[in-house]
Protein backbone atom coordinates (compact mmCIF):
# COMPACT_ATOMS: atom_id res chain seq x y z
CA UNK A 1 0.00 0.00 0.00
CA UNK A 2 2.69 2.45 1.05
CA UNK A 3 4.83 1.37 -1.85
CA UNK A 4 2.11 2.02 -4.41
CA UNK A 5 1.30 5.40 -2.84
CA UNK A 6 4.97 6.35 -3.03
CA UNK A 7 5.25 5.08 -6.59
CA UNK A 8 2.38 7.35 -7.56
CA UNK A 9 3.31 10.33 -5.41
CA UNK A 10 6.99 10.71 -6.40
CA UNK A 11 6.51 11.38 -10.11
CA UNK A 12 3.47 13.61 -9.50
CA UNK A 13 5.25 15.66 -6.84
CA UNK A 14 8.39 15.87 -8.99
CA UNK A 15 6.40 17.25 -11.90
CA UNK A 16 4.55 19.76 -9.69
CA UNK A 17 7.84 20.84 -8.15
CA UNK A 18 9.49 21.29 -11.57
CA UNK A 19 6.50 23.32 -12.80
CA UNK A 20 6.74 25.55 -9.72
CA UNK A 21 10.41 26.20 -10.48
CA UNK A 22 9.84 27.05 -14.15
CA UNK A 23 6.77 29.21 -13.50
CA UNK A 24 8.48 30.86 -10.55
CA UNK A 25 11.49 31.92 -12.63
CA UNK A 26 9.18 33.11 -15.41
CA UNK A 27 7.08 35.23 -13.01
CA UNK A 28 10.25 36.72 -11.54
CA UNK A 29 10.94 38.29 -14.92
CA UNK A 30 8.16 40.86 -14.46
CA UNK A 31 8.17 43.45 -11.71
CA UNK A 32 4.50 42.96 -10.96
CA UNK A 33 4.61 39.20 -10.53
CA UNK A 34 8.13 38.89 -9.11
CA UNK A 35 7.02 38.44 -5.48
CA UNK A 36 4.64 35.63 -6.51
CA UNK A 37 7.46 34.05 -8.50
CA UNK A 38 9.70 33.99 -5.45
CA UNK A 39 6.98 32.27 -3.40
CA UNK A 40 6.50 29.65 -6.14
CA UNK A 41 10.24 28.93 -6.10
CA UNK A 42 10.09 28.43 -2.32
CA UNK A 43 7.11 26.11 -2.76
CA UNK A 44 9.06 24.20 -5.42
CA UNK A 45 11.73 23.32 -2.86
CA UNK A 46 9.05 22.44 -0.28
CA UNK A 47 7.25 20.10 -2.70
CA UNK A 48 10.53 18.43 -3.63
CA UNK A 49 11.17 17.78 0.08
CA UNK A 50 7.66 16.37 0.55
CA UNK A 51 8.38 14.12 -2.41
CA UNK A 52 11.49 12.89 -0.65
CA UNK A 53 9.57 12.31 2.59
CA UNK A 54 6.97 10.09 0.92
CA UNK A 55 9.45 8.34 -1.36
CA UNK A 56 10.17 5.60 1.16
CA UNK A 57 13.83 6.53 1.53
CA UNK A 58 15.15 4.34 4.35
CA UNK A 59 17.45 5.90 6.88
CA UNK A 60 20.00 3.73 8.61
CA UNK A 61 18.65 4.29 12.11
CA UNK A 62 16.80 6.67 14.41
CA UNK A 63 20.15 8.42 14.85
CA UNK A 64 20.25 8.99 11.11
CA UNK A 65 16.81 10.59 11.19
CA UNK A 66 17.84 12.78 14.11
CA UNK A 67 20.99 13.87 12.29
CA UNK A 68 18.91 14.98 9.32
CA UNK A 69 16.79 17.13 11.64
CA UNK A 70 19.94 18.60 13.22
CA UNK A 71 21.20 19.60 9.77
CA UNK A 72 17.83 21.01 8.70
CA UNK A 73 17.45 22.94 11.97
CA UNK A 74 20.95 24.41 11.84
CA UNK A 75 20.49 25.41 8.18
CA UNK A 76 17.10 27.02 8.76
CA UNK A 77 18.35 29.04 11.76
CA UNK A 78 21.43 30.18 9.86
CA UNK A 79 19.29 31.00 6.84
CA UNK A 80 16.90 33.07 8.95
CA UNK A 81 19.80 34.98 10.50
CA UNK A 82 21.33 35.74 7.11
CA UNK A 83 18.03 36.32 5.36
CA UNK A 84 16.68 38.77 7.90
CA UNK A 85 19.92 40.28 9.12
CA UNK A 86 22.24 40.82 6.17
CA UNK A 87 22.32 43.71 3.78
CA UNK A 88 20.02 43.35 0.81
CA UNK A 89 22.56 44.68 -1.67
CA UNK A 90 23.98 41.62 -3.32
CA UNK A 91 27.54 42.86 -3.72
CA UNK A 92 27.91 43.24 0.03
CA UNK A 93 29.18 41.05 2.85
CA UNK A 94 27.70 37.63 3.39
CA UNK A 95 25.24 37.72 0.46
CA UNK A 96 27.72 36.53 -2.19
CA UNK A 97 28.95 33.76 0.11
CA UNK A 98 25.39 32.48 0.25
CA UNK A 99 25.69 31.97 -3.51
CA UNK A 100 28.34 29.32 -2.86
CA UNK A 101 26.43 27.28 -0.29
CA UNK A 102 24.37 25.44 -2.90
CA UNK A 103 27.57 24.38 -4.64
CA UNK A 104 29.24 23.43 -1.36
CA UNK A 105 26.26 21.27 -0.43
CA UNK A 106 26.28 19.50 -3.79
CA UNK A 107 30.05 18.95 -3.63
CA UNK A 108 29.80 17.51 -0.10
CA UNK A 109 27.10 15.09 -1.24
CA UNK A 110 29.23 14.10 -4.23
CA UNK A 111 32.31 13.42 -2.07
CA UNK A 112 30.25 11.37 0.36
CA UNK A 113 28.80 9.37 -2.53
CA UNK A 114 32.27 8.91 -4.00
CA UNK A 115 33.68 7.41 -0.80
CA UNK A 116 31.54 4.32 -1.19
CA UNK A 117 30.43 2.93 -4.46
CA UNK A 118 27.35 1.27 -3.04
CA UNK A 119 23.83 2.01 -4.16
CA UNK A 120 21.94 5.02 -2.84
CA UNK A 121 19.34 4.26 -0.17
CA UNK A 122 17.02 5.77 -2.70
CA UNK A 123 14.54 3.88 -4.80
CA UNK A 124 15.71 5.07 -8.19
CA UNK A 125 16.01 3.22 -11.44
CA UNK A 126 17.71 6.21 -13.07
CA UNK A 127 20.92 6.35 -11.05
CA UNK A 128 24.19 6.31 -12.99
CA UNK A 129 26.69 3.60 -12.09
CA UNK A 130 30.34 2.85 -12.62
CA UNK A 131 32.38 5.25 -14.75
CA UNK A 132 29.61 7.71 -15.63
CA UNK A 133 28.67 7.94 -11.94
CA UNK A 134 32.27 8.74 -11.00
CA UNK A 135 32.53 11.31 -13.78
CA UNK A 136 29.30 13.05 -12.73
CA UNK A 137 30.37 13.12 -9.08
CA UNK A 138 33.81 14.47 -10.04
CA UNK A 139 32.22 17.24 -12.10
CA UNK A 140 29.93 18.07 -9.17
CA UNK A 141 32.97 18.54 -6.91
CA UNK A 142 34.73 20.73 -9.48
CA UNK A 143 31.59 22.86 -10.01
CA UNK A 144 31.08 23.17 -6.25
CA UNK A 145 34.68 24.36 -5.83
CA UNK A 146 34.14 26.90 -8.63
CA UNK A 147 31.00 28.16 -6.87
CA UNK A 148 32.95 28.58 -3.62
CA UNK A 149 35.73 30.44 -5.42
CA UNK A 150 33.39 32.80 -7.26
CA UNK A 151 31.31 33.42 -4.13
CA UNK A 152 34.35 34.26 -2.00
CA UNK A 153 35.70 36.44 -4.79
CA UNK A 154 32.47 38.44 -4.85
CA UNK A 155 32.46 38.66 -1.08
CA UNK A 156 36.01 39.87 -0.46
CA UNK A 157 37.06 40.98 -3.95
CA UNK A 158 38.86 44.29 -4.33
CA UNK A 159 36.63 47.38 -4.69
CA UNK A 160 38.02 47.93 -8.18
CA UNK A 161 36.04 44.89 -9.20
CA UNK A 162 32.82 46.33 -7.76
CA UNK A 163 30.94 46.08 -11.03
CA UNK A 164 32.06 42.48 -11.39
CA UNK A 165 30.45 41.28 -8.19
CA UNK A 166 26.92 40.74 -9.53
CA UNK A 167 28.35 38.80 -12.48
CA UNK A 168 30.45 36.69 -10.09
CA UNK A 169 27.38 35.93 -7.97
CA UNK A 170 25.42 34.89 -11.06
CA UNK A 171 28.31 32.66 -12.17
CA UNK A 172 28.47 31.15 -8.66
CA UNK A 173 24.76 30.34 -8.87
CA UNK A 174 25.36 28.76 -12.28
CA UNK A 175 28.24 26.66 -10.93
CA UNK A 176 26.04 25.56 -8.00
CA UNK A 177 23.41 24.56 -10.54
CA UNK A 178 25.91 22.45 -12.48
CA UNK A 179 27.02 20.78 -9.26
CA UNK A 180 23.43 20.01 -8.28
CA UNK A 181 22.60 18.71 -11.75
CA UNK A 182 25.55 16.31 -11.70
CA UNK A 183 24.59 15.02 -8.25
CA UNK A 184 21.03 14.61 -9.51
CA UNK A 185 22.20 12.58 -12.52
CA UNK A 186 24.49 10.44 -10.37
CA UNK A 187 21.86 9.65 -7.76
CA UNK A 188 19.06 9.36 -10.31
CA UNK A 189 16.84 12.09 -8.93
CA UNK A 190 14.95 13.65 -11.85
CA UNK A 191 13.97 16.73 -9.84
CA UNK A 192 17.53 17.47 -8.69
CA UNK A 193 18.87 16.95 -12.22
CA UNK A 194 16.12 19.12 -13.73
CA UNK A 195 16.33 22.04 -11.31
CA UNK A 196 20.12 21.86 -11.39
CA UNK A 197 20.04 22.19 -15.17
CA UNK A 198 17.57 25.06 -14.93
CA UNK A 199 19.79 26.98 -12.51
CA UNK A 200 22.97 26.16 -14.42
CA UNK A 201 21.82 27.95 -17.58
CA UNK A 202 19.66 30.57 -15.84
CA UNK A 203 22.69 31.71 -13.82
CA UNK A 204 24.92 31.73 -16.88
CA UNK A 205 22.38 33.72 -18.93
CA UNK A 206 22.04 36.21 -16.07
CA UNK A 207 25.81 36.62 -15.90
CA UNK A 208 25.96 37.29 -19.64
CA UNK A 209 23.15 39.85 -19.37
CA UNK A 210 24.68 41.61 -16.36
CA UNK A 211 27.99 41.83 -18.18
CA UNK A 212 26.32 43.00 -21.39
CA UNK A 213 24.70 45.86 -19.47
CA UNK A 214 28.26 47.02 -18.80
CA UNK A 215 29.27 46.34 -22.39
CA UNK A 216 31.53 43.46 -21.39
CA UNK A 217 31.77 39.67 -21.33
CA UNK A 218 31.09 37.79 -18.07
CA UNK A 219 34.61 36.54 -17.37
CA UNK A 220 36.12 39.93 -18.27
CA UNK A 221 33.84 41.60 -15.76
CA UNK A 222 34.67 39.15 -12.99
CA UNK A 223 38.40 38.91 -13.53
CA UNK A 224 38.96 42.44 -14.76
CA UNK A 225 39.82 41.92 -18.41
CA UNK A 226 40.24 44.78 -20.85
CA UNK A 227 37.49 47.35 -20.95
CA UNK A 228 35.93 47.93 -24.32
CA UNK A 229 36.92 51.12 -26.09
CA UNK A 230 34.72 54.20 -25.80
CA UNK A 231 33.69 53.73 -22.20
CA UNK A 232 37.14 54.30 -20.75
CA UNK A 233 36.17 57.71 -19.41
CA UNK A 234 33.12 56.38 -17.66
CA UNK A 235 32.59 54.23 -14.60
CA UNK A 236 29.35 52.95 -13.08
CA UNK A 237 27.33 53.57 -16.22
CA UNK A 238 24.15 51.48 -16.18
CA UNK A 239 22.49 50.38 -19.37
CA UNK A 240 19.07 48.85 -19.82
CA UNK A 241 16.65 47.87 -22.55
CA UNK A 242 13.38 49.39 -23.75
CA UNK A 243 11.49 46.92 -21.49
CA UNK A 244 12.75 48.52 -18.32
CA UNK A 245 12.02 52.01 -19.59
CA UNK A 246 8.47 50.93 -20.44
CA UNK A 247 8.07 49.44 -16.97
CA UNK A 248 9.06 52.69 -15.28
CA UNK A 249 7.10 54.89 -17.71
CA UNK A 250 4.04 52.75 -17.06
CA UNK A 251 3.68 54.17 -13.55
CA UNK A 252 5.14 57.64 -14.19
CA UNK A 253 2.86 60.62 -13.61
CA UNK A 254 5.10 63.32 -15.00
CA UNK A 255 7.50 62.77 -17.88
CA UNK A 256 9.86 65.34 -19.42
CA UNK A 257 11.15 64.63 -22.94
CA UNK A 258 14.54 66.16 -23.72
CA UNK A 259 15.26 65.95 -27.45
CA UNK A 260 18.65 66.73 -28.97
CA UNK A 261 20.56 66.55 -32.23
CA UNK A 262 20.39 62.73 -32.14
CA UNK A 263 16.59 62.88 -32.49
CA UNK A 264 17.00 64.94 -35.67
CA UNK A 265 19.59 62.54 -37.09
CA UNK A 266 17.40 59.50 -36.41
CA UNK A 267 14.24 61.38 -37.51
CA UNK A 268 12.70 60.12 -34.29
CA UNK A 269 10.27 63.01 -33.72
CA UNK A 270 7.21 61.02 -34.82
CA UNK A 271 8.12 58.04 -32.64
CA UNK A 272 8.69 60.42 -29.72
CA UNK A 273 5.36 62.19 -30.26
CA UNK A 274 3.57 58.83 -30.46
CA UNK A 275 5.11 57.67 -27.20
CA UNK A 276 4.18 60.97 -25.54
CA UNK A 277 0.59 60.57 -26.72
CA UNK A 278 0.42 57.05 -25.28
CA UNK A 279 1.70 58.29 -21.93
CA UNK A 280 -0.74 61.22 -21.92
CA UNK A 281 -3.61 58.77 -22.59
CA UNK A 282 -2.55 56.88 -19.49
CA UNK A 283 -2.95 60.05 -17.46
CA UNK A 284 0.67 61.19 -17.34
CA UNK A 285 1.68 64.82 -17.77
CA UNK A 286 4.14 65.06 -20.65
CA UNK A 287 6.19 68.12 -21.57
CA UNK A 288 9.15 68.70 -23.88
CA UNK A 289 12.22 70.57 -22.67
CA UNK A 290 13.68 72.68 -25.49
CA UNK A 291 17.26 73.81 -25.05
CA UNK A 292 18.19 76.88 -27.14
CA UNK A 293 21.17 75.12 -28.69
CA UNK A 294 19.70 71.65 -29.12
CA UNK A 295 20.11 70.60 -32.74
CA UNK A 296 21.90 72.37 -35.57
CA UNK A 297 20.16 75.71 -35.36
CA UNK A 298 18.02 77.43 -32.69
CA UNK A 299 14.45 76.26 -33.16
CA UNK A 300 15.53 72.97 -34.81
CA UNK A 301 13.63 70.94 -32.19
CA UNK A 302 10.54 73.16 -32.45
CA UNK A 303 10.38 72.64 -36.21
CA UNK A 304 10.71 68.87 -35.98
CA UNK A 305 8.22 68.51 -33.13
CA UNK A 306 5.77 70.76 -34.95
CA UNK A 307 6.10 68.47 -37.94
CA UNK A 308 5.15 65.58 -35.64
CA UNK A 309 2.07 67.59 -34.54
CA UNK A 310 3.17 68.07 -30.94
CA UNK A 311 0.95 70.78 -29.38
CA UNK A 312 3.00 73.96 -28.88
CA UNK A 313 1.70 74.17 -25.32
CA UNK A 314 3.77 71.11 -24.39
CA UNK A 315 7.07 72.71 -25.46
CA UNK A 316 8.98 74.49 -22.71
CA UNK A 317 12.04 76.69 -22.57
CA UNK A 318 14.90 75.24 -20.54
CA UNK A 319 14.26 77.36 -17.41
CA UNK A 320 10.58 76.40 -17.18
CA UNK A 321 11.49 72.81 -17.98
CA UNK A 322 13.90 72.66 -15.05
CA UNK A 323 11.02 73.59 -12.72
CA UNK A 324 9.03 70.69 -14.17
CA UNK A 325 12.01 68.34 -13.92
CA UNK A 326 12.30 68.93 -10.18
CA UNK A 327 9.21 66.82 -9.53
CA UNK A 328 9.23 64.70 -12.69
CA UNK A 329 9.15 60.91 -12.39
CA UNK A 330 11.08 60.35 -15.60
CA UNK A 331 13.37 62.44 -17.79
CA UNK A 332 13.69 60.85 -21.23
CA UNK A 333 16.78 62.19 -23.02
CA UNK A 334 16.56 61.50 -26.75
CA UNK A 335 19.85 61.93 -28.55
CA UNK A 336 20.96 64.90 -26.46
CA UNK A 337 24.34 65.18 -24.78
CA UNK A 338 25.98 68.56 -24.16
CA UNK A 339 22.68 70.29 -23.34
CA UNK A 340 22.14 67.96 -20.40
CA UNK A 341 25.77 68.06 -19.19
CA UNK A 342 26.02 69.15 -15.52
CA UNK A 343 29.55 70.42 -16.28
CA UNK A 344 27.87 73.49 -17.81
CA UNK A 345 27.16 74.59 -14.22
CA UNK A 346 29.75 72.97 -11.99
CA UNK A 347 33.03 72.63 -13.90
CA UNK A 348 34.62 75.98 -14.78
CA UNK A 349 37.37 74.17 -16.72
CA UNK A 350 34.94 72.43 -19.04
CA UNK A 351 34.44 73.54 -22.65
CA UNK A 352 30.70 73.68 -22.07
CA UNK A 353 30.87 75.69 -18.82
CA UNK A 354 28.38 78.57 -18.73
CA UNK A 355 25.96 77.10 -21.24
CA UNK A 356 22.33 76.79 -20.13
CA UNK A 357 21.50 73.35 -18.71
CA UNK A 358 18.40 71.24 -19.00
CA UNK A 359 18.91 69.56 -15.64
CA UNK A 360 17.74 66.03 -16.40
CA UNK A 361 19.38 64.75 -13.22
CA UNK A 362 16.65 66.41 -11.15
CA UNK A 363 14.15 63.75 -12.25
CA UNK A 364 13.57 60.64 -10.20
CA UNK A 365 14.68 58.37 -13.01
CA UNK A 366 16.60 59.37 -16.14
CA UNK A 367 16.68 57.36 -19.36
CA UNK A 368 19.20 58.42 -21.98
CA UNK A 369 18.70 57.06 -25.48
CA UNK A 370 22.01 57.32 -27.31
CA UNK A 371 23.93 55.30 -29.84
CA UNK A 372 27.06 55.11 -27.69
CA UNK A 373 28.99 56.91 -24.97
CA UNK A 374 30.83 58.95 -27.58
CA UNK A 375 31.06 62.65 -26.68
CA UNK A 376 28.77 65.23 -28.29
CA UNK A 377 29.69 68.28 -30.36
CA UNK A 378 31.65 69.84 -27.49
CA UNK A 379 33.77 66.69 -27.12
CA UNK A 380 33.49 66.42 -23.35
CA UNK A 381 32.47 63.74 -20.89
CA UNK A 382 28.97 63.91 -19.44
CA UNK A 383 28.65 63.14 -15.73
CA UNK A 384 24.86 62.79 -16.07
CA UNK A 385 25.45 59.31 -17.50
CA UNK A 386 27.10 58.22 -14.26
CA UNK A 387 24.35 59.35 -11.88
CA UNK A 388 22.71 56.52 -9.91
CA UNK A 389 19.27 57.37 -11.31
CA UNK A 390 20.47 57.35 -14.93
CA UNK A 391 19.97 54.38 -17.24
CA UNK A 392 21.49 54.39 -20.72
CA UNK A 393 19.53 52.79 -23.55
CA UNK A 394 22.00 52.30 -26.38
CA UNK A 395 20.59 52.34 -29.88
CA UNK A 396 18.95 54.32 -32.62
CA UNK A 397 16.50 56.82 -31.07
CA UNK A 398 13.65 55.99 -33.42
CA UNK A 399 13.94 52.22 -32.96
CA UNK A 400 14.29 52.46 -29.20
CA UNK A 401 11.28 54.79 -28.86
CA UNK A 402 9.18 52.46 -31.01
CA UNK A 403 10.31 49.48 -28.91
CA UNK A 404 9.34 51.29 -25.69
CA UNK A 405 5.94 52.09 -27.23
CA UNK A 406 5.19 48.50 -28.22
CA UNK A 407 6.47 47.21 -24.87
CA UNK A 408 4.08 49.61 -23.14
CA UNK A 409 1.20 48.19 -25.16
CA UNK A 410 2.17 44.62 -24.33
CA UNK A 411 2.49 45.25 -20.62
CA UNK A 412 -1.06 46.56 -20.20
CA UNK A 413 -3.03 45.81 -23.34
CA UNK A 414 -6.41 47.09 -22.22
CA UNK A 415 -5.82 49.88 -19.70
CA UNK A 416 -5.11 52.60 -22.22
CA UNK A 417 -7.55 55.00 -20.59
CA UNK A 418 -6.53 56.88 -17.48
Amino acid sequence: MMASLAAFAIPVLSIISALFFIMGLKLMGRLRSAARGNILLGLGVAVALVGLAVSGVHFGSQLGTNLVWVGVGAGVVLGLLIGLGSKVEIGAGVGPLLASTGGIAAAAVAIAAFLHDEAWPWPSTFALQGGPRGAALGLAVVAGAAALMLGSFASVGPPAHGSGQPAAVALAASASGWAAAMVGLAMGSPIVATVGGLVATAGWTLAVMVAAALGRKPFDVVFGGDRRGGIDDYSNVKACGPEEAAMVLETARKVVMIPGYGMAVAQAQHALADLAKMLALRGATVVYAIHPSAGLIPGHMNILLDEAKVPAGQLMEWEAANVELADADVALVVGANDVVNPATQNDSHSAVYGMPLVDAGLARTVFVIKRSLRPGAAGVKNALFELPQTNMIFGDSKKVLQAIGSELKVQTPRSAAA
Binding site: V45, G60, L63, G71, L78, V88, T125, T205, M247
Partner: protein, 103 residues
Protein backbone atom coordinates in the same frame (compact mmCIF):
# COMPACT_ATOMS: atom_id res chain seq x y z
CA UNK B 1 20.52 0.13 -14.02
CA UNK B 2 18.28 0.69 -16.96
CA UNK B 3 19.91 2.56 -19.86
CA UNK B 4 16.52 3.72 -21.14
CA UNK B 5 15.66 5.46 -17.90
CA UNK B 6 19.06 7.13 -17.69
CA UNK B 7 18.55 8.48 -21.18
CA UNK B 8 15.28 10.04 -20.00
CA UNK B 9 16.95 11.73 -17.04
CA UNK B 10 19.71 13.13 -19.23
CA UNK B 11 17.15 14.33 -21.76
CA UNK B 12 15.20 16.02 -19.00
CA UNK B 13 18.36 17.71 -17.76
CA UNK B 14 19.11 19.03 -21.25
CA UNK B 15 15.56 20.31 -21.73
CA UNK B 16 15.68 21.98 -18.32
CA UNK B 17 18.96 23.65 -19.24
CA UNK B 18 17.31 24.98 -22.39
CA UNK B 19 14.29 26.25 -20.43
CA UNK B 20 16.56 27.94 -17.88
CA UNK B 21 18.20 30.02 -20.60
CA UNK B 22 14.93 31.01 -22.23
CA UNK B 23 13.09 31.91 -19.05
CA UNK B 24 15.83 34.34 -18.05
CA UNK B 25 16.71 35.74 -21.47
CA UNK B 26 15.43 39.29 -22.03
CA UNK B 27 14.49 40.03 -18.42
CA UNK B 28 14.86 43.78 -17.68
CA UNK B 29 18.00 44.99 -15.88
CA UNK B 30 15.95 46.11 -12.92
CA UNK B 31 15.15 42.50 -12.01
CA UNK B 32 18.62 41.00 -12.52
CA UNK B 33 19.62 41.21 -8.86
CA UNK B 34 16.51 39.60 -7.33
CA UNK B 35 16.60 36.91 -10.03
CA UNK B 36 20.22 36.23 -9.21
CA UNK B 37 19.33 35.87 -5.58
CA UNK B 38 16.42 33.56 -6.38
CA UNK B 39 18.29 31.29 -8.81
CA UNK B 40 21.01 31.01 -6.22
CA UNK B 41 18.46 30.01 -3.58
CA UNK B 42 17.03 27.17 -5.65
CA UNK B 43 20.47 25.88 -6.57
CA UNK B 44 20.23 24.26 -3.13
CA UNK B 45 17.89 21.63 -4.57
CA UNK B 46 20.72 19.15 -3.88
CA UNK B 47 19.36 19.21 -0.31
CA UNK B 48 17.37 16.18 -1.48
CA UNK B 49 20.59 14.25 -2.03
CA UNK B 50 22.10 15.70 1.13
CA UNK B 51 19.25 14.41 3.31
CA UNK B 52 19.63 10.93 1.83
CA UNK B 53 23.35 10.92 2.65
CA UNK B 54 22.98 12.47 6.10
CA UNK B 55 20.21 10.11 7.17
CA UNK B 56 21.81 6.91 5.97
CA UNK B 57 24.23 6.92 8.87
CA UNK B 58 26.99 5.02 7.11
CA UNK B 59 30.07 6.11 9.02
CA UNK B 60 31.37 9.34 10.52
CA UNK B 61 33.05 10.96 7.50
CA UNK B 62 30.06 10.62 5.23
CA UNK B 63 27.61 11.54 7.97
CA UNK B 64 29.52 14.75 8.71
CA UNK B 65 29.60 15.59 4.99
CA UNK B 66 25.90 14.83 4.70
CA UNK B 67 24.82 16.89 7.72
CA UNK B 68 27.04 19.79 6.58
CA UNK B 69 25.44 19.60 3.14
CA UNK B 70 21.92 19.60 4.60
CA UNK B 71 22.73 22.63 6.78
CA UNK B 72 24.41 24.52 3.90
CA UNK B 73 21.58 23.82 1.48
CA UNK B 74 18.78 24.71 3.92
CA UNK B 75 20.63 27.90 4.83
CA UNK B 76 20.88 28.72 1.14
CA UNK B 77 17.18 28.13 0.48
CA UNK B 78 15.85 30.01 3.52
CA UNK B 79 18.37 32.88 3.38
CA UNK B 80 18.07 33.29 -0.38
CA UNK B 81 14.28 33.28 -0.28
CA UNK B 82 14.14 35.93 2.45
CA UNK B 83 16.75 38.18 0.83
CA UNK B 84 14.92 37.98 -2.51
CA UNK B 85 11.66 38.91 -0.84
CA UNK B 86 13.22 41.90 0.92
CA UNK B 87 14.77 43.05 -2.36
CA UNK B 88 11.42 42.90 -4.13
CA UNK B 89 9.78 44.86 -1.30
CA UNK B 90 12.26 47.67 -1.96
CA UNK B 91 10.89 47.93 -5.50
CA UNK B 92 7.33 48.43 -4.29
CA UNK B 93 7.70 52.23 -4.21
CA UNK B 94 8.26 52.45 -7.97
CA UNK B 95 11.11 52.33 -10.43
CA UNK B 96 14.84 52.41 -9.85
CA UNK B 97 16.80 55.34 -8.60
CA UNK B 98 16.94 57.09 -5.25
CA UNK B 99 13.61 58.20 -3.89
CA UNK B 100 13.19 61.92 -3.58
CA UNK B 101 10.77 62.97 -0.91
CA UNK B 102 8.69 59.80 -1.20
CA UNK B 103 5.37 59.42 -2.94
Amino acid sequence: MDTGFILWTVMMFLLAAFVGHHVIHGVPTLLHTPLMSATNAISAISVVGAIVVAGSHYESVRTVLGVTAVAAAMCNVVGGFLITERMLKMFKGGGPGPKKGGR
